[in-house]
Symmetry: D2
Subunit: 475 residues, 4 copies
């Protein structure tokens, strides 16, 4: 649930929140971003409007840090606001791509923030550059803002829909004008976006945990292709042309979203538990106890334990005090040292045959170190169970996978991986088993497991690096 830079996890692409109609809109956004911190820790930003101007603050770091100066929040007054968390890329952090973006065009001021990745962004960007546009960021939001500004439609909602109908890929957008909040989800519905109610106000967010923290009520998921317009006249729904295959990202259930969130109108916790149960059914193990790699695999491990009738135990303690800029004194040697973050509970592990549940494997190095740690804690046998299928293909829809080269699932067989991580046994969940856990499994994207992409993708996708919420880096 709580990814960070050193985890061997796929990296998600940001979280968004929007509020309209609350006297302290920016404060609600602040708390919502705080609840969505797991979706992005590199930068945070809020744009707010009092009906005349839009004011914005953004910065590098965690939400509480970016807004810790006591002079910032009082300037973000007004009844409507949007916010964004950006995740931490492998490259150096930079403020230039922090969101929201705030621009002025013929329709006045517009702020925009999004989660996702648009497949045709590089082409659109190139084409707009050829026709004389300039780009100050590599964010896809800038492309969409250009398209909005160039649209000859009469009103801002039509302009937004005009712009979005030219985009192919995964996105959830929140737009703010001085008198309107607009939220949009791509026709495939890759990324989650929820609608909630907070007194007289409306709130939209990537996950419903952002509603809980402000006491808002969950209404529903915003539909694939739906554009929601909220202003003084209330709420209205529009639909983008969408003869598209629904393709919600199933990795949101496996790992990205918080278990206490509701997304795609499902409770994450329920699905995640089912993944664990299904895994136990498919791949039982001769073992005494079941433990999780905390905290992300806790729920799946509980499911595994329940279905297998084995005892769930806490076999690893995770240190949560790691600072964002934590640097061990001699960084070279410490960087991969899982001992800084995890410690085995030998009282639990000693002389036990242990099932270790994790949600996924990217490169495998961390898991290998954890298996060693668990053995050092006294475990007799270590049986690794993964609550998702092997990740073998890059994602073009907002997950940061540099290339197939770094995916151990693409390079090795399961038994080779078992040897690499030095486990006594290793099993992944099957694709079919995974899809059994969700209603209408056909509505989900499984491209990273199967290579079946629901949209056209760049021809030689092995060579691209998709920066999050941005264009292809090397195109």
């Amino acid at each position: 649930m709580l990814p960070d830079q050193e985890d061997d996890h796929l990296k998600e692409c940001c979280g968004v929140v929007g509020v309209y109609g609350d006297a302290e809109a920016a404060e609600k956004i602040y708390l919502g971003l705080y609840a969505l911190q797991h979706r992005g820790q590199e930068s945070a930003g809020i744009a707010a409007t009092d009906g005349r101007d839009i004011r914005m603050h953004k910065g590098l770091g965690l939400v509480w840090s970016v807004f810790s100066d006591h002079t910032i929040m009082p300037r973000l007054t007004g009844h409507a606001a949007i916010g964004h968390n950006r995740y931490s890329t492998r490259g150096g952090s930079t403020l230039v791509n922090a969101q929201p973006l705030l621009i002025r065009c013929k329709s006045g001021q517009i702020a925009a923030a999004h989660n996702g990745n648009m497949v045709n962004a590089p082409d659109l960007r190139r084409s707009m550059e050829q026709s004389g546009s300039i780009f100050q960021t590599t964010s896809d939001s800038e492309i969409v803002l250009h398209l909005i500004a160039r649209s000859d439609k009469a009103d801002i909602v039509s302009q937004v829909m005009d712009a979005l109908s030219q985009m192919v890929g995964a996105y959830c957008f929140v737009f703010l004008t001085p008198d309107k909040l607009i939220a949009a989800r791509d026709p495939h519905g890759f990324r989650p976006l929820c609608l909630g109610r907070l007194g007289d106000a409306y709130i939209v967010a990537s996950e419903s945990c952002a509603f809980d923290i402000v006491g808002a009520q969950y209404l529903r998921s915003i539909a694939p292709g739906e554009v929601v317009e909220i202003d003084a006249q209330g709420i209205r729904s529009h639909q983008l042309p969408s003869a598209h295959v629904k393709s919600a990202c199933i990795f949101e259930f496996i790992y990205f979203s918080r278990p206490d969130s509701r997304i795609f109108d499902e409770k994450v916790d329920k699905i995640r538990r089912r993944l664990g149960k299904q895994l136990a059914t498919e791949s039982p193990a001769e073992a005494d106890i079941v433990i999780a790699i905390p905290d992300s695999a806790n729920t799946a491990a509980l499911g595994y334990a329940q279905a297998s009738g084995k005892r769930f135990e806490i076999g690893l303690i995770r240190n949560h005090y790691v600072g964002r800029t934590f640097i061990a004194p001699h960084q070279k040697t410490r960087k991969q040292d899982v001992k800084v973050k995890f410690n085995p509970v030998s009282g639990v592990l000693e002389d036990r045959r242990v099932v270790v549940v994790d949600d996924s494997i990217v490169r495998g190095n961390t898991l290998k170190a954890l298996v060693r740690l668990i053995r050092a804690g006294g475990a007799k046998e270590v049986h690794v169970r993964i609550s998702s299928p092997p990740v073998k293909f890059p994602c073009f829809y907002g997950i940061d996978i540099s290339s197939r080269g770094e995916l151990i699932g693409a390079a090795k067989t399961t038994s080779e991986i078992r040897d690499f991580i030095e486990a006594d046994s290793l099993a992944y969940l099957s694709v079919d088993g995974m899809l059994n856990t969700v209603k209408e499994g056909c509505r989900y994207c499984t491209a990273c497991f199967t290579g079946k992409y629901p949209t056209v993708v760049p021809g030689d996708y092995n060579k691209y690096h998709f920066a999050c919420c941005g264009a292809l880096d090397d195109v």
Copy 2:
């Protein structure tokens, strides 16, 4: 396990580490302090020696933050070092009481850091002031350093023992001179202090989790009244006069220490689980599932679930991204808002009768808010079980309890507390049940539950506020 400022938990009194004989001693201390961060988050400090000088750095904040400037660690060279984490008092933070203290006296430079609270510190301080001493801090370490400097013994170890034999109360000390590391535990043995081995080096620490992070091997607990001297000649053990009742702090098992630590030569995890099992035996509940207040009550809740045959579930998600200086925009309203830190998992709680296990209750406000949150998550019934007896009396040995006035256990009956926290039922562990979980239960201090203090204490103890690792504030 991971206390912080807003928790309704008793506050522990710091952690200490010392290393002798390692070429990168200060780095080991740094990692050790990082592992002991749960014992103190207000300030951190390291003193290191290269055999000639002692150099020190300390500051307010978490360990990684205090030492984040890249110029600091390279200055702390040498083969021996000590370190200290100080916990966060309710009053404002101040650097003046950060430890270690580094002084120069007739024996040369000495640095000292300690965990605990000495009962006769105010008297000693007053008496030394009368005889012309000055005090620059309110730390008990300064008193001991004065006593060392005034001692007419021939060598530093004798001076230390001379000084400590005048102190009454709870303490674990680490001292550093340019050529020696000295570690000492009070004759009652209130606070834990462990000895470990790291290659040719020795390491001492409040808990063994500080050994694991550097790859050191646990040797044993330093005995009550033992003074360990480590230098180029190796390790030697001395004993303070100690016709004292052994009185290890049982709250270290209940809450303070990490479950993956070994203290008092026991595995914390084992005892904590037994507390939960005993609680289940004493106070079963008609319920469907067992959940913990994460993360501190996880292990006890597992024990309760196991003994009661009920399913352990994760019913509350805790947000770990809270920054140390986290301030919600409108702090007045947010301060107590547990929603910022916890969120219920409704998929788990809905329509369930829930046993909630927590380790202790201080004021009860947080627990009351959590019970409401759990009900809001859908629970039909909420049965609270506490894995320790009611805390009714102040501690004079290093736990920060301002006065009986703030202890709900001192002011209300269990049924009144149940009403206050709005639970369907409430039960505490019995004192006898608690003592059954530890070998030789008579070796433990139970004063905060029973009022039976193993030392003389100030007459009117209701009026004193004991600042951590320091003197009485109002004497």
Copy 3:
């Protein structure tokens, strides 16, 4: 010479530097910006290229502070770089308008920085917005970058010239592409821009003091309308269409530039001294000594003293330790308190009749307080002499004058101003006298004194606020 936020001085519009052909180009820019710090203290930025990419860093604050993190400069590698200092506006500081701007367009990456103000920027901006452009800043540089990107000329220099020929007003630009440095001065030649040589490298800067600090040699002023292109092939000069009246800003001599600089191919010190001499001739005073308001009026006061045969003295000491964010504890009362910055030297002033030379008066409040301070220091009589004519009209060419309303010279007669500042006498330099001090006086703009604007200006100019290096704020 050294304006700051609390001075009663007109505020200049930034400084620019560019270097091509030096292995440590960014370091030269850094030092050049440091020498030009008086032209802008709000923000600083450097863009550098190694021939492939352009990398940039900018931030709020003084140059040394913006670049103090030791990781920044090592990233700005390469043989060519540009830099910019932005001055401090009255409104809140914001990073959004900091320069250089770095964009990508069909010609690749371009960074731009400028000093000045373009009169037709609002019209161009509006017109571009209508045709679908978006603006992320209010900087005129963004307009020019849009024009460059839209130009259908074949090469970058032609595109730049195409863009600039559409701009009306005052500007000096430095552009950086991965293989070229381009410097341009508007056809009126309002703002200074100098060309220098540093070994094999070329350097351009607003003032020659930026050459001295890096040991570069002054070559010449870049001519009005000249566009200088510097790359691996050497240096080439182009000319913008320029049937324009030459209109160098004479206030650069009066106040903005450093006395040790050469601008417009003149030594500032020489002209500034002549202003003082001319003032003494026009408006002698019965007095004993001549003092300056330090440091900006020092040179003019020396000239006055010399021409009048009176002794120059240092009658006011200025405290240079004021931090950029200096806030006296009770800011409301201290803000205008000149005592924080100036102190009279009573040994000099006591019982003397004093001529006080200042360079200009904007609102008059500071001067009034200084006159009181000088009397409090013991002066018998205070005769104020101003080394420029009364400022009566707003500037549209890069000086920050909000409106005529704040100009005491527009609202009051000289004798009314004398009464307001409580001086025994007051005299300004005449416009003709001022023009006598420069060669070819007709080449200079005197609009702020005379209202004779060398370009078309907005109709109702009293209502506009011209933000520095940016568009009209309220259009």
Copy 4:
């Protein structure tokens, strides 16, 4: 006047301020410290009392920076306060020696801050260590606080006098208790300390410029050996036993103090001007103009110009924007580069024979670089005149001179120094000439010029390094 780390100037030993009877005492101290910033830039601190407690804040950096957090000043409430600026030592900065020191002893809380250096501090420290005292700093203030605490006198003023009468050397002290301000000057009167009046309140400060900034009135110099006690009963004067030779530090006039200050009941500006006049009389030069090394030599240069009938000019411009932590990118090469701080005004220097007045020479490197710079600016001849005699001996009374080894005046003859700095001629002021400029010249200490020390001094003084306001470093 404004020393900083890179100047080739002797370094002064701190500034002190104290206020009693003002409702915003700490704010007055803040402003006073700001005015005294030239006496110390390493650290700043304020202790204030509301009659019950003393609260303190201190930190590394300039005054405005140390107190910039908006929560600090509001905590320093009360009617009485003291403050301290500490100068920047060559070694690393450290908070441990920042002043004031705040202690508790049998008389309650006492804060102390001082300027100066006590010759017998090492002996006292050693002797107190032998009798069991501990030292946490190397500040002489700590020694005096120990002596106060050990004194058996009945009241705090008697204890202070008891303590001070054991100290030999140079000091000005301010002490604060919850109900009293005590100010003391050593019997030799080495360092300046002035008394002023601010409404009903009293103020003491190292220099009177601290009075001007708060609008206080200068009353008189505190006499050598005088101890001033200020409390609710008013002001009372006590006298230390003082059969001592009066020995005011004449370097305060030459360089340390601000020209607008009054010290030793003399106006600094007057004496400094006389030094320049006397220098002109003793050592005229065939030259066209007189310039100063700004800003410290401005006043002496004006005196020289006046007495010699030559024109005073501003031939060097000094950049005041240097930040405290200014580090040029490639520090190794820039460190000594005077071009970063000074720039010649070629319009003034070209083809001129120039007299350059400076106040003193320590190592000579900076002056050598400046002579080159002046020649590079076009000067035909450079005649250096120094407004003090050659510094040949270390100071034991608060000036930071490491050893004779670094004093060019101790190692070379005047003609050798002239050659070293590459001047056409060089002359120093004579000792007698210097003493002629002050009333009762015999009251001044000339030890650094003559080696005639007014107190006993350590035998082999060449080997000691006297840290400022602290003990001998290597004893």
